[in-house]
């Protein structure tokens, strides 16, 4: 009996699971083409919401804020991560546990701590404070990834290069960086997605003026939502799919291992 149970029930369960996973997203995408202003009845196909989305100044402002914050914090966190892994490896190795703190503590504590810290020193909330928070988040992910890749490297590569007469910076650019490149790329992609998607730190540390994409979506969805957000979500779903498939591709070719 149990043989056919396994061969029948399990696949059924898995298909149900994938339905459960994908129906909400498909519905969301469908309703982005719904003509009615209120997302309740289906009034025919239209793409006006996409036009409205591209016309809305607020959406573009939120997107540009998000992109600025994400790119700057990716650049800062990955550069600092590579620097600390390459330069600090010999003597500061035992301090690397410092960086794992941000992963253990719940994110709300991080966000709240930052807000308390900024209000203590009366730092005005804005792009700078948001970048500070996201770079901190980024470091928490980038350092472990780059560090694990650096440990895999042959221990003597740096010494071999120095031994052959290269200066420390030549060693870095000719040997270490090319070898770290895949993990640096994976770390940047991951930090970029995390910073783009982050809500908690943005919610607490962004202040009222700077609205990032998640904050914009949150404020619209909180007041009942609008098809424009559906349109925006559809675009973000496809962009997300591109990024994940890209990472999957990298992983398939054993260039990068995150999971």
């Amino acid at each position: 009996m149990n043989i056919n149970m396994k061969s029948f029930c399990l696949p059924l369960f898995v298909t149900l699971f994938f339905l459960f996973l994908y129906v909400p997203i498909i519905v969301l995408i469908l309703y982005s083409f719904n003509a009615s202003t209120m997302p309740y009845e289906w009034k025919g196909f239209t793409t006006m919401w996409y036009k409205q989305l591209f016309a809305s100044k607020e959406a573009w402002q939120a997107l540009s804020n998000s992109l600025i914050v994400s790119t700057v914090s990716v650049f800062l966190s990955v550069t600092m991560a590579v620097l600390v892994v390459y330069n600090g490896f010999e003597r500061l190795n035992r301090f690397f546990v410092f960086f794992y703190g941000t992963l253990v503590i719940p994110e709300i504590v991080l966000a709240v701590g930052l807000l308390g810290f900024f209000s203590l020193f009366s730092v005005s909330l804005g792009l700078a404070t948001l970048i500070a928070g996201h770079t901190l988040l980024g470091l928490g992910y980038a350092v472990p990834i780059v560090h694990s890749r650096f440990c895999e490297l042959e221990r003597h590569l740096t010494e071999a290069s120095l031994d052959l007469g290269a200066t420390r910076s030549q060693t870095f650019f000719r040997v270490i960086f090319p070898l770290l490149m895949p993990s640096v790329f994976a770390a940047s992609l991951l930090v970029f997605v995390i910073s783009l998607d982050d809500f908690l730190i943005a919610f607490f540390c962004a202040g009222a003026e700077t609205q990032t994409l998640p904050l914009y979506i949150f404020s619209v969805v909180r007041s009942g939502g609008s098809p424009m957000v559906n349109a925006l979500s559809t675009i973000m779903i496809f962009v997300g799919a591109l990024i994940v498939s890209f990472i999957a591709l990298l992983q398939a070719r054993k260039v990068v291992t995150i999971v």
């Binding site: 209120m38 309740y40 700078a128 404070t129 500070a132 009222a208 007041s223 009942g224 939502g225």
Partner: protein, 356 residues
Amino acid sequence: MQNSRLYTIMMRSVMVFFWVCVLVMFLGFSHIVHFFRSERSINIFSWPTLLDVSYLERFERETGITLHVSYYETNEELFSKLRATKGSGYDLVIPSDYVVELMIKEGLLQKIDQTKIHAWPELDPKLLSLYCDPHNDYTIPYFWAVYGLGIDTAYFKDALPEVSWDLIFDSKKIPSSIGMLDAAREAVLLAAFYLYGSSDIAMTPEHIAKIKKLLIEQKRFVGAYTESNIEHLLLGKLCPLVVAMGPDILRIQRVNPAIKFVIPKEGSFVVIDSFAIPAKSTKVDLVYEFINFLLKSDVLEHHRAKFGMCCPTKKMQSIHDQTICPSDEEFAKMKFFKTTLPEALLNEIWIQLMAY
């Protein structure tokens, strides 16, 4: 050998200090921007739904004064920010009446010169000499609005019930599910007003206990505690009845005429947002220029049409939509959200309600 170790430590601490300074510069960047703001500029701190950006640009074009507008979501945020900077950093704020009282007590505002306000004589007398600023030394009334009930008449078809606060507090009369305010102060004072006819009374522990019981009983019927999401509740047919401010219901009425705004017969609450100038602001005359611009009748009319709030000047009274901006005698029955309970107690009641 020993001193080279000392030098290394010194050198390293200089390095650490260098990076800390870079960080402080990075964070203080926005402050520095404040310094370099041109002389002819004022910093405004206001509600997001009070000033229309296109009119601000028009003002900048006409007068050459650059405006730096930042927004707050709750009065508490405005009050705590102003208190943190001891009344500096902003040149014009637009607080609601109950916060004005607190600000004056803490000395965060400076006196205003009524003669500088051209539209002063046209201001509606009922908005002047409020409880929070009897002689209008510190504030100039701007827009105001009234709380009430948003009713989906389609749900009740023709059997429209008699409009009173029983509809949201008396378990026998409450329809299937209602939308309730999600702010501690408004909900608690509304409940006090329903129970004792006024929220302006000395609150004894029994009062508070009864208020708590009333709110907790009401929770069974509440579809959602929200003020920003009432559009979804009404149009999505989730709740036939919501507690809201007049302007919000007016906006929904444009989409679905069946939704009406009604002020309960027992009276209701009114919130008046008024201009005030922080204590340490040095650009008072520029601020007066901006206030005069905002109080011009055409600018007032545009903002009234866009946000649906009620205007402060008598002349505009006539073009008001009577349902959301009550006439003078009805206004007399209106109550204010005066602080009769310490804030800590308000929060405690609210958290207990939410935890329930």
